[in-house]
């Protein structure tokens, strides 16, 4: 399909990107500003799903699948659980912002300006090399060769988090 190849694909991709990016930003703003924390959590799920879409656009299907599996499927469910278990205390009518929110906004503005400057002025050495073939196999090999130590440490971290979470959240038996 040569006549169609060059003309619209760029535009279509950019359109999709803008759509997904818009969704991410709107959802993220909803996460940090909504008064009802349950609605915030729902917006967070939407945001995570949209980020997975971004990974597909970046041709990283494995990370996209992991994003949905871990962020959307596990982390968000945990957060929803925590919200449902503590909901009665946090009255949505009470303000969602703490006393120092304006200071936070100021800091955020400074950080955003700094990061924006780096994004704008740093010369990125773009590469034209083709994407690696068979990402999944290559990822598996890398994890068990070059990155085997971080991989093992990550497993240990997960084990410790599992044990730690159980011990911390456990109700004390017999008072």
């Amino acid at each position: 399909m040569p006549p169609f190849e060059n003309l619209p694909t760029d535009l279509v991709l950019q359109g999709i990107f803008l759509l997904v990016a818009g969704l991410i930003v709107v959802a993220a703003v909803a996460v940090v500003t909504l008064r009802n924390i349950f609605h915030s959590a729902l917006a967070l799920i939407l945001c995570f799903s949209a980020v997975a879409g971004l990974y597909i656009l970046l041709e990283a299907p494995f990370v996209a699948a992991v994003q949905v599996l871990i962020y959307v499927g596990a982390i968000s469910v945990l957060i929803l659980f925590a919200v449902m278990l503590t909901e009665r205390v946090m009255d949505p009518k009470m303000g969602a912002r703490n006393e120092q929110w304006w200071l936070g906004l100021l800091l955020t503005a400074i950080a955003a300006t700094g990061l924006g400057a780096i994004v704008g002025f740093a010369p990125w050495p773009l590469s034209k090399a083709p994407i690696i073939n068979d990402q999944i196999t290559a990822l598996g090999k890398e994890f068990l060769t070059t990155y085997v130590l971080p991989f093992e440490v990550a497993s240990l971290l997960l084990l410790m988090a599992l044990l730690g979470a159980i011990i911390i959240a456990r109700e004390k038996e017999g008072g």
Binding site: T9, V12, L13, Q14, A21, I24, V25, A28, V32, I37, S40, L44, C47, V51, L54, L57, L58, E59, V63, Q67, I70, Y71, I75, L78, I79, A82, L85, T86, V89, M90, M94, A96, N98, E99, Q100, W101, G104, L107, T108, A111, A112, L115, V119, W124, L126, S127, A129, P130, I131, A138, L139, E142, F143, P150, L157, L158, A161, A165, I168, A169
Partner: protein, 104 residues
């Protein structure tokens, strides 16, 4: 090469990071603070994957780091929420302005 330039991804990640930072600094609810942190981690991951795609597409370092970040985020959320529930059980609140056990 994909039709979306690298700077778009970086700008989006910057915006997302800023929103997450604001959420972390301004929320009263401890769970809300955790959500802000998660947003920031997602922004970092977008950067990692974008850099992988545009600068080192022949290596997989970016993707591997992103997977590690997701792993760490998962354990962080598990521990964070366990702490929040423990505090909730003891103090009946998760408003960080009322949690001041260390105040003399």
């Amino acid at each position: 090469m994909s039709g979306v330039p690298l700077s778009w991804y970086l700008t989006l990640a910057t915006v997302l990071f800023a929103i997450g930072l604001y959420g972390t600094l301004s929320r009263k609810n401890a769970v809300g603070i955790l959500m802000g942190i998660e947003l920031m981690l997602n922004a970092v991951n977008i950067n990692l994957i974008a850099f992988w795609r545009f600068i080192t597409p022949h290596l997989l370092t970016g993707q591997i780091f992103a997977v590690f970040v997701i792993t760490v985020a998962a354990s962080e959320v598990a521990i964070g929420l366990a702490l929040i529930l423990a505090i909730y059980r003891q103090k009946k609140t998760i408003d960080i302005e009322e949690i001041d056990l260390l105040k003399g």
